[in-house]
Symmetry: C2
Subunit: 288 residues, 2 copies
């Protein structure tokens, strides 16, 4: 039997499949209900502290019998969905003066991690549902903030070639303005090179600088369920090599920002890794 | 209990871990025994014809109770390991005059697919063992043909950066000569862009043309185990875009060459997709 949260998730999926309108306010409302119901579900379960190997961060996990959820950052997690509705209001008014970036980030982190944790506890090795859900959540917030819907295919016209390129979400602000290239992942590990490679293809096909690459990632934690130790898998040296030799990303946004990546902001080549909450405040400066 | 083939596989793994000498003739001999024992195992199992949706190719699968192996190309599969020893002899003598490329390809295809099929029948959703085994098999043959062992890390020296780059197999023929960049995959699907991205990094860090990218891939078949239909997942238009905008691969070798990719040889930009058997004959011309 599906939990109430899972029922709401099915409705979100159906709504998106039927209307192809990710920025629709109805999606925002359903995501809020999903957040609420996920918290209700998790309140009925024990949580266990994990042994954090990540300097300055504390993690715990929810438990259901022998099942353990992914790691939850104790300093980011909110056991209340009260912040969701003010966030939607601020987005619809495009006024974030009373919502600091850090608060926005905690609300979105909690909405994301709570349903992912629920799926970890109720299903067996289901990576797909959390991934698709996270794409809906971030895709909706990005679309609502920009006030337009994304596309997932781009035409390619190149002499004897006439085809379309499948992409991550693309937000096109219109002629003469920036376009966003938005890969969305719950974690990247060694697959992250794909993000730079897709950016390179966009730069090559359409011209460098036309697409702003701004991937959004949930976290890079990895939990050993035997020892209950949490680590962050980070490869900052490789990221710099990708940023130098494949393409330039404009931002990398995280909900739970890994410290080794946040430090890259001070090195060469510049690679700005920030909390996703910052996006809502700074997006207008990115597209200037 | 492990099958005899799996016992031999464990010995191969231990040999490689202990001696770090992939080109060692002992590995070639063990791979031959593994091939033989995999065929013995499979002879004890029924095979069922699959419904091939791939023009000009016939496929079947081995069956073990409710388990079905991956698709096996009926026109490439040899139910005999007799060709293995002549192949090793030809490699050690560097004389392929009596071994046509097509014959070499069939022997290696059969050695590869037989152990992969065995693992499909004996384990549950184990993708890692076939992947690692295939890397050993191709890595050994490539190393034996070139007469040198590969490395998997490269140093990066770049002003304020001093680190190493993890890579697929790299074969370094020495100062002033070519180096091979050899990704090895049982199939690629949407992950293939990584191969071009890694090539781009090598071109950027060490100079364009110093590394010859020559990935080796088993097949691109996908079987629907309900309907027993086999398709090939191919994205030739995207491959051309990668070859045009990310980096240039020298060759893409397959054991079971997908027809849509073989056709790319005649288009622009040039992308030579060939049977891996051809490698043994043409490698000397690649490094000239």
């Amino acid at each position: 039997m599906l939990s109430r949260a899972e029922e709401i998730y099915v409705r979100i999926r159906q709504h998106i499949a039927r209307h192809r309108d990710l920025r629709n306010q109805a999606i925002g409302a359903l995501l809020g209900q999903l957040f609420e119901e996920s918290l209700n579900f998790l309140r009925g379960h024990r949580s266990v502290d994990l042994i954090s190997q990540v300097a300055g961060k504390r993690y715990f996990a929810f438990q259901n019998g022998t099942k353990l959820s992914r790691a939850v950052n104790a300093d980011l997690y909110l056991d209340s969905a009260d912040g969701w509705s003010p966030l939607l209001t601020a987005i619809s008014r495009q006024d974030f003066s009373s919502l600091p970036a850090h608060n926005i980030n905690r609300v979105i982190y909690s909405a994301a991690i709570s349903f992912c944790a629920l799926i970890d506890l109720t299903r067996r090795a289901d990576q797909k549902t959390p991934g698709t859900f996270f794409e809906y959540l971030i895709g909706h917030l990005f679309a609502a903030r920009l006030g337009l819907n994304p596309t997932k295919r781009l035409p390619v016209l190149n002499l004897d070639m006439n085809t379309t390129l499948p992409t991550d979400f693309i937000f096109d602000l219109g002629p003469g303005r920036a376009k966003f290239h938005l890969p969305i992942k719950t974690s990247t590990r060694e697959r992250v090179i794909q993000v730079w490679a897709h950016q390179r293809v966009l730069d090559g096909v359409y011209g460098t600088g036309r697409f702003l690459g701004t991937p959004v990632i949930l976290a890079e934690t990895k939990t050993d369920f035997e020892t209950k130790k949490v680590v962050e898998i980070c490869l900052p040296d490789q990221w710099l090599i990708y940023q130098m030799h494949i393409a330039q990303l404009k931002r990398v946004y995280y909900l739970d920002v890994p410290v080794p990546y946040a430090r890259l902001t001070g090195t060469f080549p510049r690679l700005y890794v920030k909390a996703f909450g910052d996006f809502f405040h700074e997006v207008d400066t990115l597209i200037e």
